[in-house]
Symmetry: C3
């Protein structure tokens, strides 16, 4: 069984996801298609990159991760395939690999040429005309060389996402994702920190991490060890982003608990 | 073919659904994954319970229903598997089985221990670390005893959802779900009622049930025999919840038509 | 492998999609189910028709396209199956085939009778009780004659969607879909037009078509050759519908560039 995952900002009220799946189902009839997320905000490459970073190695070797959040479609950004840790990425070279690349170096990268598609691709729907044919090809075990010429492995676009850093006894990090629940996911690795920390964000000081959400009363802020291995700030049964008025890239400081 | 259905409040703009599917696809490569609903409001256990009640026996025996609407993750509520009518439930023991249990008694229930997962599970994402491995295990025909110790079958959490009751010649019921269309689904079984009833809700009196929506002009209220076997109140091409200002648990009275 | 695609307005927070899939998975265990779109606005037949028109031939011959946007369920509109270009449509005869029919004439059409379902169908959920059983039957290679009597192929409902027309040296068209990105998809075929056109819509004049979105600065309007073969009006990294205050059926004029 071969797997193709789909991550897009196409939404679920148009036919775009359906067109992409039709190309995949026609060209890779034995592949299993798995929807990851289609309601990424239009053009939100940062969010797509975060998703890919989370899911990358959860899938078996050989999986093709097709990702189309592509505000620059038809323009300068390059359509590519890239192999990281024996899984394939197929999509635009616009930063969607930012998080995945950090833990898994690019082993092979190629520019997609139209050879695997039929006729001339459209200028505005590479998801259907370039990426889906390439994903189907790779999923079926096709030779990557048929897709296009190899490109410099170190050239893949990485967004300037802030990184956590030590600052004396403390650590300075940032909010790198705000999820559906309003949880603030930081880039502060739990493994860097002592068992008890004091967190400062948006003028508020919190102690943690708590073991679970019910360590605080409903509606209260808490710090938790996030499931991605970094600290998260949440409101029990509520939204931390609204409570704190905080968005992407907000600073978070973590100090050993005094 | 084995089936695993997925019902969550994870939304479709984060990576959480993708992480869960990755675990399932890796551990149960022959299972077919079917999305039921991922846009349940965060923490809305009542809605999840209603969904499971509706879909339970529509699926073949052996199906695994994975459901993760889990605001108490990591806290006191128990991670469980439960077998009802030869289908498995995998998820938190927090009331998600409320409706399914009414028609299908629990034949076997077990507490999930971490044995089937890799390493220590996170405290905040049991969907990925406990439930998905258990679902994959059961889906592949694995021995339920490997998941954890049996628990009291009658101990599964049931929410205090109102029940319909006879009151003289009439019946008193409640709105137990408000669906996407703004339809008000009641707990008044069609089978209890005479062919013609008078419905009172939010100070309004309606006659019914109508055979279909076009029995009334556009924008008008009507009562219908719902597809779940209970009375429903709808507005043709509109929303009954907004028209009546009614939400979950609102009272509905049904009397034989005078 | 047989394919069944699903296009509905059921949303993704109720159990309706799950009930339909349960019937399909039970009756057509070998079919692959592919979600196309479930967040079509309630009752928006025009949108559903546009989706089907886009996806129809992207899928292999033999595919069953199940579509349930069905505000008239249980009423006068007829439940049908229809074969176009060797793919099957299953759903209400309410105009959902409007766009697909234009390029692919109906080769066979039948009224669905309850024969393929169990017991009496509900009046309000034909998706589950009539359409899913019929789709499963056809998907498994069942004889279409078992579904119900043949009906007049030319009788399928077609909505009065505006058509593009020549007007002297110019062409008059309309917006026939507004997509998730706020792009305005017109019915003006790119093939009709000269290489350079002047577009007038909502009092604004644009030159185009541009090769890709980055031909204009962020936030600016542009005309593009849409991936469906007709002109589209977009705002780079923005929404053309809001910028122009334009909705479905708005007029668009295209003239050779002076």
């Amino acid at each position: 069984m071969s797997l193709i995952t789909l991550t897009t900002d196409f939404g679920t009220r148009d036919g775009y996801v359906g067109e992409v799946k039709g190309v995949l189902a026609t060209r890779a009839p034995d592949a299993t298609l798995l929807d990851i997320a289609h309601d990424v905000e239009p053009g939100d490459i940062r969010c797509g990159a975060w998703i890919l970073g989370r899911i990358w190695v959860r899938y078996p070797a050989g999986t093709v991760h097709l990702a189309v959040i592509d505000p620059g479609v038809g323009g300068e950004r390059m359509p590519i395939v890239a192999r990281l840790s024996d899984r394939w990425y197929v999509g635009p070279d616009n930063g969607l690999l930012t998080h995945a690349i950090r833990s898994h170096p690019v082993a092979e990268a190629r520019r997609i040429e139209a050879a695997t598609g039929e006729g001339a691709p459209s200028d505005t729907f590479h998801g259907r005309d370039l990426f889906a044919p390439a994903a189907a090809h790779l999923s079926g075990g096709g030779d990557p060389r048929a897709i296009g010429p190899e490109i410099d492995r170190s050239s893949c676009v990485v967004l300037p996402v802030p990184r956590a850093a030590r600052r004396g006894d403390s650590f300075l990090g940032h909010v790198v994702h705000v999820d559906r629940f309003g949880n603030l996911i930081t880039n502060l690795p739990v493994g860097w920190l002592p068992a008890e920390v004091e967190i400062r964000i948006a003028g508020v000081t919190l102690h943690g991490p708590a073991r679970s959400y019910d360590a605080v009363p409903r509606g209260e802020l808490l710090v938790s060890r996030g499931s991605g291995g970094t600290l998260e700030i949440a409101v029990r049964d509520g939204r931390a982003d609204r409570r704190l008025g905080v968005t992407l890239d907000a600073e978070v400081e973590a100090a050993p608990r005094a």
